[in-house]
Symmetry: C2
Subunit: 433 residues, 2 copies
């Protein structure tokens, strides 16, 4: 009996080992994912071929209904939390364990694309489909999550992280609805947002599959980006005061031309940012010259300075260099340059080391090429990083284009991402809880 028992245990252990390590990794169904992405993109499609599924619109609601149906058909137990996040739960063998949560969002910017957010949601549902097809029950429970209003300020994930304050609720998004009204419209209850907040430590891990929204993977011919973190973002409004005067009667020498000072400023920012090694970026995206008439020397320029990096310290190091050089530009152009730090930044959110290795291992087992990279864009994962270990998987964006009707990710790339996601989840599920 003892020997027989031992053999049974041993056999079970071998099966388990085969299941976890040696088994051919599960692969996502590219056709299924693409047909679902296409079906979703029909909801809110505009004449430009763009998606107008802005959060809190009727199209958003219709898109969510489509997703809820997919989730229910895949056997998930679906609920809407008070922030109107859609959460679909799949039981684990040990259902009181902390869940692994994964998902993204389906709302778009006005005239946006079909892939931003949607690939992560369809990919998360694909994970469930694959587990069902492979008759796999995970040890711990799984949760697919569709966050409310990502594009309007990460509304749903901020609520999940307990970080959606009352002042945010009064902001109106591109739907024309205030966020409070919008959450209610989608079935949430903005008066009880605290109930949507997850406690730190309650979630085993949060994973998000997303399109890169940049051109790095495509240009290097890689399949997968293993996200090292979501960059911190800092914004400044920069005002350059010169002196507006008649462009015909004021000689070149006596001018205090704010556009010339602004031009030097923009080029200087580019120079400073490029002078450091690494993946930091810096942008002057807004540039408003006043009065802005062809026959008046511009007396004022208001411009934006945005700096992003995985290290907050590096962002402020660059800023200090920019500020120092701006003083020289001001004195050489007879203008006064002032900086106003705007309170809309985000701290860098670093992804979890263990999750990153699981993602890398999955990509390797699937025979996919990959590299580590920062996420230059903001994502729901950055809020979730405040309460749980997070990881993100990027798939290529054609031409690096996003937030545009031209946004495109191939069915194969989407499936690669979902394949990495499912295998990483399975590997993590077996890890210590």
């Amino acid at each position: 009996m003892k020997i027989r028992n031992s053999i049974v245990v041993l056999a079970a252990m071998v099966l388990l080992a085969v299941n976890v390590c040696a088994q051919t990794p599960i692969r996502a169904n590219a056709e299924r994912m693409e047909s679902r992405i296409k079906a979703l993109s029909q909801i809110g499609l505009n004449d430009n071929g763009g998606s107008d599924r802005v959060a809190y619109t009727d199209y958003d609601k219709q898109g969510r209904e489509y997703i809820i149906e997919l989730m229910k058909n895949a056997g998930l137990q679906v609920r809407i939390d008070t922030a109107a996040n859609i959460i679909g739960r799949r039981k684990g063998k040990f259902d009181d364990r902390k869940p692994i949560v994964f998902g993204s969002h389906i709302d778009t910017v006005p005239n946006g694309g079909a892939y931003d957010g949607c690939v992560g949601v369809i990919g998360a549902i694909e994970v469930i489909e694959l587990l069902n097809e492979n008759k796999i029950t995970t040890d711990g429970p799984l949760e697919v999550i569709v966050f409310t209003d990502e594009e309007g300020g990460l509304t749903g994930s901020r609520a999940s992280a307990g970080d959606l304050g009352p002042e945010a609720l009064t902001v109106t998004n591109n739907s024309g609805r205030a966020i409070e009204e919008g959450i209610r419209f989608l079935g949430g209850d903005p008066g009880r947002l605290a109930e949507a907040a997850r406690k730190e430590g309650d979630i085993k891990a949060y994973l998000e599959l997303h399109i890169e929204q940049g051109g790095v993977l495509e240009s290097k011919g890689l399949n997968i980006g293993v996200v090292e973190g979501i960059v911190g973002i800092e914004w400044w409004e920069v005002t350059i005061e010169g002196f507006a005067n008649h462009a015909g009667t004021t000689p070149m020498k006596g001018r205090r031309d704010a556009v010339l000072a602004g031009a030097r400023f923009a080029l200087m920012v580019n120079e400073v940012v490029n002078s450091y090694g690494g993946t930091q970026v810096g942008t002057v995206g807004k540039f408003i010259a006043e009065p802005g008439a062809p026959n008046v020397i511009p007396g004022k320029v208001t411009l934006s300075l945005e700096l992003r990096d995985l290290s907050a310290e590096k962002i402020f190091r660059m800023y200090n260099a920019i500020e120092k050089r701006a003083i020289v530009i001001g004195s050489e152009t007879g203008t006064e340059i002032t900086f106003k730090h705007l309170d809309v930044g985000a701290l860098p959110a670093i992804t979890d080391e263990k999750i990153k290795s699981k993602i890398e291992e999955s990509a390797k087992r699937l025979g996919l090429t990959y590299q580590k990279m920062p996420s230059g864009a903001g994502h729901d994962a950055q809020d979730m990083a405040n309460i749980a270990p997070v990881g993100m998987i990027f798939v290529p964006s054609r031409g690096g284009i996003s937030h545009s009707p031209k946004e495109f990710t191939s069915a194969e790339d989407m499936a690669n991402g979902a394949s990495v996601l499912v295998n990483a989840i399975l590997a993590m599920d077996k890890g210590s809880n």
Copy 2:
């Protein structure tokens, strides 16, 4: 009898010679001019201390009524021509001679100043007052002219020069009225504009006293500017097409940032214009970045290029150099730079050599300091140059400021200008007709 007659003739000749050459030059009354400038500035005064006497408004009409009364009180025979120009005539001894015409305008830009145009009109009336006080009747007739709507496109002087076409009449100025309606409102007849046109050769000379609208005279401590000509103006709209993309996900290297290209363009224009000797100016006054969000790499910049000089050839020489260097900037920044020449320019208008010397001589006789200089701004004189020899007299603008409530010229400077004007007119009156 013969000897007695000869003595009388001789005595008369001596008196004449004394009158023309050796007599102390006539000097304008600074207090009278200033009190009239102040009275005029009360009409349309706004809360900023600026003048809102925009052409075709009620304030414009009231201002014109004040001026007409001054003209009538000074003994002028006043008429309104079909372009609503106010013309006040003073008979000459030989009244069929060609008139010497002098004046300016009293309409302002919105929130403009009290001196632009007005000094020329009050100065022209001062000339008549001085001739009256000194009991001088000129040989030829004199005409004081107040042109309609200078600020809205030199409307009145274009009509005088026979150059106000029907398409100009449909343009709406800052009063909200179309020019056609405005001319009618002021007592003109837009259906009979041809009657306002003066024939080439019908006017002996056109003279205009004006504030400099720049800071050259003030900075050099000079009293009078002898205008060499009114600069030609050429405008281009420049479009820079880059590629708008996510400011977070697009590495610094792959960017096609239209603001960076536009910045290099603006600095290059400044460099090219400064590389020539002379008084030419070049300005990038408009600079519009699109989409203009802090988190989007600007995909497009639309900017204005304005070049001014007394030589049209030099303007286009500068333009060619700018165009050549723009090609390099475009290729180095991955942007496409295109130029559109706008049909709103003006050819240079050169002032008459003889009139310039009379102005110089007058200044000299009055003990005033002066220099020759271009007018960087447009004036009614540039239209009049198409049909008559013209001359312009500049007086200092404090701080070089104009088109602003801060516009200021001292009573002494205004009087200096009118003194030069009256003595130049007297000298020209004696010249051959």
